[in-house]
């Protein structure tokens, strides 16, 4: 295998000799590549031939419902599990489960809170920092910064088990950032966090991303993916269904507008006619209608009036990732 100069530099990332990856000369270097990854648990295929390239500085979203394979993908990248097929390279260097040093530039925020509940926030951070070789005043300042960032500075000496669920999640997040990883794997980090704290976390992560952190962020909230992620992969049943920037993804939806109305007795007659006018899907007791481009909305509303249906039954929406997921799978994202 030949290596470009960019790859060679990228290879050195994480070591002291390395150039910072935001150095303009290395911005085109591929940071993380997943190459035909397959992961099975017994007979269940959790990841099915996944190929992805994540570029430095990217805020990459993994959007998918429960059991889609998001956490599995994270665990492979974090070196917790080995794939049955395919390989992962980080800065051109194969990532192996056995090699601990290859994980030094990596931070994982596990989906479940992974902290020592008996120990204080301070002690927890100290341990995780030390495992990455931090010590002394550097470690102390990093811990101070982290606790301030997630508004836990005043609780630093309390045992983690006395924290609320949301506080634990906030600590769980910053515990993965003490060593300033180059790549952060966030596995649904905001579950159970109140809106203010969630926004604080988003701001915090966005700030880190602006400083150059590469993030892989898994979620089943399309709002989070929409707000945070520069590129998004929609995955389901271990496969990537769609991949691109938000605009690229939404462009895959054939319609600009979507009209929704409740699936009821009185709307039956309308529902029977609409498939001829465009795409028509029913889910969760709601009809969704996306008129073909040549279809005139005026004709649609004329029809509803003739059927005696009041306008308040109808809502029209901008296309969303949720709609895209529905379009791709025929299911809702949070089924």
């Amino acid at each position: 295998m030949t290596m470009t100069s960019g790859e060679a530099i990228a290879l050195a990332l994480g070591s002291n000799r390395s150039l910072h990856w935001r150095n303009p000369t290395v911005t085109t270097v591929l940071m993380l590549t997943l190459d035909h990854l397959t992961k099975r648990y017994g007979t269940l295929t959790a990841l099915d031939d996944i190929s992805l390239t994540i570029k430095p500085g990217e805020f990459f979203g993994l959007l998918g419902p429960n059991g889609a394979g998001k956490s599995t993908l994270m665990s492979l990248v974090a070196g917790l599990r080995a794939p049955e097929a395919g390989r992962i390279t980080l800065n051109g260097k194969p990532l192996s489960v056995a090699e601990a040093s290859s994980r030094a530039g990596l931070g994982l925020v596990p989906q479940s809170v992974a902290l020592y509940p008996e120990l204080s926030a301070d002690q927890n951070l100290r341990i995780f920092g030390e495992l990455y070789g931090l010590h002394g005043t550097l470690l102390k300042t990093r811990i101070d910064e982290a606790l301030v960032a997630v508004q836990l500075a005043d609780r630093r000496h309390d045992q983690v088990k006395t924290f609320s669920g949301g506080m634990q999640r906030r600590l769980n997040l910053v515990a993965a950032l003490l060593h300033r990883p180059k790549l952060l794997l966030c596995d649904e980090p905001t579950v159970g966090i109140d809106p203010q704290s969630r926004n604080a976390i988003f701001d915090f992560l966005e700030a880190r991303a602006r400083e150059g952190l590469t993030v892989i962020y898994s979620t089943h909230y399309m709002e989070e993916a929409t707000r945070l992620c520069s590129r998004i992969a929609i995955i389901d049943h271990g496969r990537i269904l769609a991949l691109g920037t938000l605009d690229e993804l939404l462009a895959q939806l054939p319609f600009e507008e979507e009209i929704r109305f409740p699936a009821r007795e009185e709307t039956l007659a309308l529902a029977a006619q609409l498939p001829a006018w465009g795409e028509f899907i029913t889910a969760d007791g709601v009809h969704r209608f996306r008129p073909r481009a040549d279809c005139k909305l005026s004709e649609f509303f004329a029809l509803t009036e003739s059927l005696g249906l009041p306008p308040r039954l109808f809502t029209s929406q901008r296309p969303t990732l949720e709609a895209l997921f529905l379009h791709l799978t025929g299911r809702n994202l949070r089924e």
């Binding site: 030094a104 020592y116 495992l131």
Partner: protein
């Protein structure tokens, strides 16, 4: 190493944070050694059981029979019952007819009947009857042994009477007298004493010739013990102040340690449930780091607990730890390492903490029994005695005994420590192998 030390410090912060766990770490060995000590009477310098009820019915008028009863009464292992208490609180001597119902009523489990025909005219020998309810094998053997010992030390006199009676029947009184006289002269010539007194003793069947045979010890030295002289010498452990406790403390310690360290190894499951392995293993930490840090923690914990245990043993039962402190700590370290590796293997092969606990309890009890923590290995079948040497309990106890009982030097201790180290290494290797394949880190 830095990573292992960080993880090790984490375990210590953990136990320091957890006041309950911390105090248990110290209190449990203290309570344990106290309770065990009381159960086994470790404060006594002599050994053996005391106060076992023994009913004695003496239907014989023979003075030697009364002497036997007195001897049994003097034996501290027995509490001799000779009286039957009526419902009006008056007492009468026990009769043989009382014994069986009383044994059924669990008043006692052993009874000795000295029948009227203790020494029979018609045959040579003595007639005694022992009734027992052998509910407990060890106890029964022990009691029978004690009874036999007490009876046999009183038998010469009775046998002498029986012998004289038989001789008189077969060879006639005058010829017996002649025989006895020549015996007496022989005895007097060889052992000293007045031939007339010896003759009259023999005539009465008194072979307890101590008083008539001139000797410095006087009446207490009996004739037979001069004929067969057994010299006893305790070669090892003579200077040990608290033999009972010193002998058994190793066994208690091992059992306790195995339970404590298995529990500590099972805390790996707890960390797994907390999802902590995900965080640790996604950092530069490897599985081996986690396991070795747990191992070191177990060894430190075990060492501290053993030292607490022995120091408590020092103050409660006078086990002399201070003379051998260095070597004792060394053995403690090796024993703790062996126990920890056992706990790690257990955690490695168990699918869940519950399974580890169940399997652990079973293995620990088996190993303690086979290894000799409960009863002496010498009473086990031979196969078991060989199996015993495969357990870490055996070798750890051996180490403790060598230090505390036999005053062993470091050189003498080396083979035992070597075996413990080899066991630890083999067990850890197996544990690591299992961990790398097992589900614990999945």
């Amino acid at each position: 190493m830095r990573i292992i030390l960080t993880l090790l410090r984490k375990d210590f912060s953990h136990v320091l944070r957890d006041k309950a766990a911390l105090s248990l770490t110290f209190i449990v060995p203290l309570v344990l050694i106290y309770v065990f000590g009381q159960i086994f009477g470790a404060n006594r310098t002599d050994s053996g059981p005391t106060g076992i009820p023994l009913a004695v019915v003496n239907a014989s008028g023979n003075p030697a029979a009364a002497q036997l009863v007195d001897a049994l009464k003097a034996e501290k292992s027995f509490r001799v019952l000779t009286k039957y208490v009526n419902s009006d609180q008056t007492e009468r001597p026990l009769t043989e007819a009382d014994l069986r119902p009383m044994m059924r009523g669990n008043d006692f489990r052993f009874a000795l009947v000295i029948p009227a025909d203790l020494v029979r005219e018609t045959e040579f020998g003595l007639h005694l009857k022992i009734l027992s309810n052998p509910r407990n094998e060890v106890e029964t053997q022990l009691i029978n042994g004690l009874l036999q010992k007490t009876i046999f030390s009183n038998v010469p006199q009775l046998l002498g009477q029986s012998l004289q009676a038989q001789a008189r029947r077969y060879i006639g009184a005058s010829r017996l007298e002649k025989f006895n006289r020549s015996m007496a002269e022989n005895v007097a010539r060889n052992f000293g004493g007045d031939p007339e007194r010896i003759f009259s003793d023999i005539q009465k069947g008194q072979w307890n010739l101590g008083s008539s045979v001139g000797s410095a010890g006087g009446g207490t030295t009996d004739f037979f013990s001069r004929v067969v002289r057994i010299e006893q010498e305790q070669v090892i452990g003579k200077e040990v102040k608290s033999p009972m406790a010193t002998r058994s403390v190793g066994g208690w310690a091992m059992q306790f340690l195995l339970f404590a360290l298995t529990a500590s190894a099972a805390s790996l499951f707890y960390e797994k449930q907390q999802g902590l392995f995900q965080r640790l293993l996604s950092s530069p930490v490897t599985r081996a780091h986690i396991l070795w840090s747990k191992f070191l923690y177990g060894v430190c914990l075990g060492l501290v607990q053993l030292v607490v245990l022995f120091v408590a043993g020092r103050f409660m039962f006078g086990i002399e730890v201070e003379h051998h402190l260095g070597l004792l700590v060394l053995v403690c370290g090796f024993a703790a390492a062996a126990c920890t590796s056992f706990g790690m293997l257990l955690a490695a092969i168990s699918p869940s903490p519950e399974a580890a606990r169940g399997l652990g309890t079973m293995l620990i009890l088996t190993m303690s029994a086979i290894g000799g923590a409960w009863f002496p290995i010498s009473i086990m079948p031979e196969l078991m005695q060989h199996l015993s040497k495969l357990t870490l309990v055996y070798w750890s106890m051996e180490g403790f005994q060598q230090v505390l009982w036999a005053n062993a030097t470091l050189g003498e201790l080396c083979p035992t420590l070597g075996i413990l180290a080899a066991m630890t290494a083999a067990t850890m290797a197996l544990a690591l192998w299992c961990f790398n394949r097992g589900k614990l880190f999945d």
